[in-house]
Symmetry: C2
Subunit: 436 residues, 2 copies
């Protein structure tokens, strides 16, 4: 794995919109996804400027090398990811060759205008698990619930902790999310639970990543190999019904509070595209134990982090009616992940749990240390007690019906072309009246 | 849904072993599963005595009615379960007609000797979630960890609570389970965690059940319809690495402690086969709140429980070497489920979570109120402090390498032919030395 000619900032594409200096999808990005053109079926594609390169058609015309050429004929990226990072890197080289301007004008019949296409989940997401590596989020949520002298649980500094999410509720950006109903309890404000629509509807800004070839049942992935299992990244919104979650948490953890939907951005930013934007792992907390040997790898400590700037915006129904643009809620950064992606993979598999190609893993909410980089309303509004004021005079303690929350992600480094993640957006619909 | 001629105790099959009075799979059971005959591929089948009826072949010969005749041509039962209970009942009638002795001798070329076949997971298990409705287990585990004055969390009497499990680790009975390694902490005995093989390896005796047609994302299943989503049952062993679980639980719940494998019995006892063996829901705990309206249905209260006697046995390596049979560890009963299957479905979907055809849902550990019916070693041995003595002089606080744990389930009622669940068995292999 290395920075190579596909990251060369001087290279341009024959797809004009890829060279406009503002696109998130220049020639140096080449993210993978699943799309359908108008009146066409689902297939694999690559985002390039405001176009999508049709990978199935490229394979049909003999422009891709095996084995990737066969793996991109399906309706999900699972089979491609199963081939692992070396094959994905080879595919990146093929795609770069097809789209680079070196050879003069390209074949426009390989392209579809992205605006005309539908986008889908990139993989089948047979498994979805969600970590808790945003250390500032972990500390602040503990303090909000338990008071300022809250200390992280003992396990936090020893290993990345996580819980299993619900694969069936993972959905692609743009899917509407129905406000859930259920038994709610707003901490000590409510002595007894009551049934009705969620009153503390929240978002959580996270990164997601996808598993490559995976591991056999019963055979852990060694930390030295774990980084190679991370084949790509996306933005992830772990929508959370806080009042429902608060009532259900003891003693098994979150379940229904997280089951109304988990949105992800449609384009998988490959690990190869991310090569120039890696950074050291986060510094250890004061008085932390040594990293356990099964989670420690020198090269992972040196380059296992990621330089991704993250943002969240809100667009309310009133703002849209007035023609006003979305408003930024926060900006944060992937450097606030206390454990690396490789450490999450090693931890996830250490007990023999099998990770399958295309599995989705979330980081957990990536809040930063200051007021401006809190990555959920729970933190931003101190559980609704300090509502957030919008420029148009509206206030928000939590999400209201019609609000649309959108995430963005961007990687920049001197000497390299910036790349973006696209959007992870979702709008909250009113609760079903017959369910409440 | 009703008791009909397929439950008639006077009926016999032309498959002799189905009439021997001891088989778990008489003509009145007809459980569904996935098998492969020697040198054959995977297909749908029905257990009958010591034989398997080849459902794909029966469909090929025109013996089954559509739409089930098409749905049984796959390698998993998902497509069949997606058709829902009315179609499954119609299929049961077709199968009964094929296997009943009324028409004289049957066509033996439709059968395979079960002992020669391989058995697989009945569905693809795209989602697996696990409830906590064994109320005696919930109370006792709380007392063991927190002391005798432990009280159930407030939510317990309001609704069935649950957590998401890991679909990729669900395996069929007979699959070996590798003792996991990880960071362990045996409660207060260990002030600090240590890395190594699990020292508190445990089983949990549960029932599993499978989802039928399921529900659309965002649309809860009303309690009145929820029972029809439960198309069949199995035995489930939620293998648990207690020392790994104890260290990881705060604050997100169990993850790696449950990810070394979850075994299920291969035969799905259909909801139709269970019709004669339904019973009222469990009585409410003293001082319980009223059942919330979204979880209350008169007919479910009257008949939503199940009359299933459950057992667990152990066979150690030493016992097997001496030719000694397995020893019973406990016997318990499905009547100790505090919430019904329908209530679990209604709760699971109330926030809009989609349940998909073939999804697996566990009840949680079904312990009873006395020493003889504790359904995990954690309870049986009081976390290893009161080891269990076996007839050959061995003792067990938890599971040792080479131990095989096997579950059985049986339904009996005056005037009906008893039916059984088959076996859910698994053996613990030593930890991988290179992982520890």
């Amino acid at each position: 794995m290395a920075i190579d000619h596909t990251h060369d900032a001087a290279k341009r594409s024959w797809v004009a919109s890829a060279n406009d200096g503002i696109t998130e999808f220049p020639l140096q990005n080449l993210p993978l996804g699943i799309f359908s053109p108008p009146r066409g079926d689902r297939r694999c594609g690559v985002a390039i400027g405001n176009q999508i390169l049709d990978l199935r058609e490229a394979a049909n015309r003999g422009l891709l090398n095996p084995p990737a050429a066969d793996a991109v004929r399906g309706e999900a990226l699972d089979a491609l990811f199963a081939l692992g990072r070396p094959v994905l890197r080879s595919l990146r080289h093929d795609i770069f060759r097809i789209l680079a301007a070196d050879g003069g004008p390209g074949d426009e019949t390989l392209l579809h205008a992205m605006a005309d296409c539908s986008l889908y989940l990139p993989t089948t997401v047979r498994n979805f698990s969600d970590f808790f590596v945003g250390v500032h989020h972990a500390i602040r949520c503990g303090q909000i619930i338990n008071g300022d002298d809250y200390e992280l649980s003992q396990n936090y500094a020893y290993m990345p902790i996580a819980y299993n999410g619900r694969p069936s509720t993972v959905c692609v950006s743009g899917t509407d999310i129905r406000r859930p109903v259920g038994l709610r309890k707003r901490l000590s404000e409510d002595p007894l639970p009551s049934f009705g629509p969620c009153q503390w509807m929240d978002f959580e800004l996270e990164l997601g990543f996808f598993v490559g070839s995976g591991n056999a049942f019963g055979e852990p992935v060694p930390i030295a190999d774990a980084g190679d299992q991370v084949v790509g990244f996306c933005l992830l919104n772990d929508w959370s019904a806080r009042d429902i979650q608060m009532f259900e948490m003891a003693p098994l953890g979150a379940f229904n509070g997280k089951s109304s939907g988990t949105s992800i951005s449609p384009w998988v930013i490959t690990a190869d595209a991310m090569e120039p934007f890696r950074r050291p792992a986060m510094e250890r907390l004061p008085n932390s134990p040594e990293i356990p040997a099964y989670l420690h790898d020198e090269s992972d400590q040196r380059m296992g982090g990621a330089d991704i700037a993250l943002t969240a915006t809100i667009s309310t129904a009133k703002m849209r009616a007035a023609g006003e643009p979305p408003v930024r809620l926060l900006q944060t950064h992937a450097r606030y992940c206390y454990w690396t992606f490789a450490q999450m993979v090693a931890q996830h598999s250490i007990t023999g749990c099998s990770l399958l190609p295309g599995d989705l893993i979330g980081t957990g909410t990536i809040s930063g240390p200051t007021r401006a980089d809190l990555a959920s309303f729970f933190e931003l509004s101190f559980i609704g007690k300090q509502p957030f004021e919008l420029p148009n005079g509206e206030t928000r303690g939590f999400i209201e019906d019609g609000d649309e929350i959108a995430f963005g992600g961007r990687c920049e480094r001197e000497g390299f072309v910036p790349i973006g993640f696209g959007t992870c957006a979702g709008r909250i619909l009113p609760a079903l009246s017959h369910a409440a």
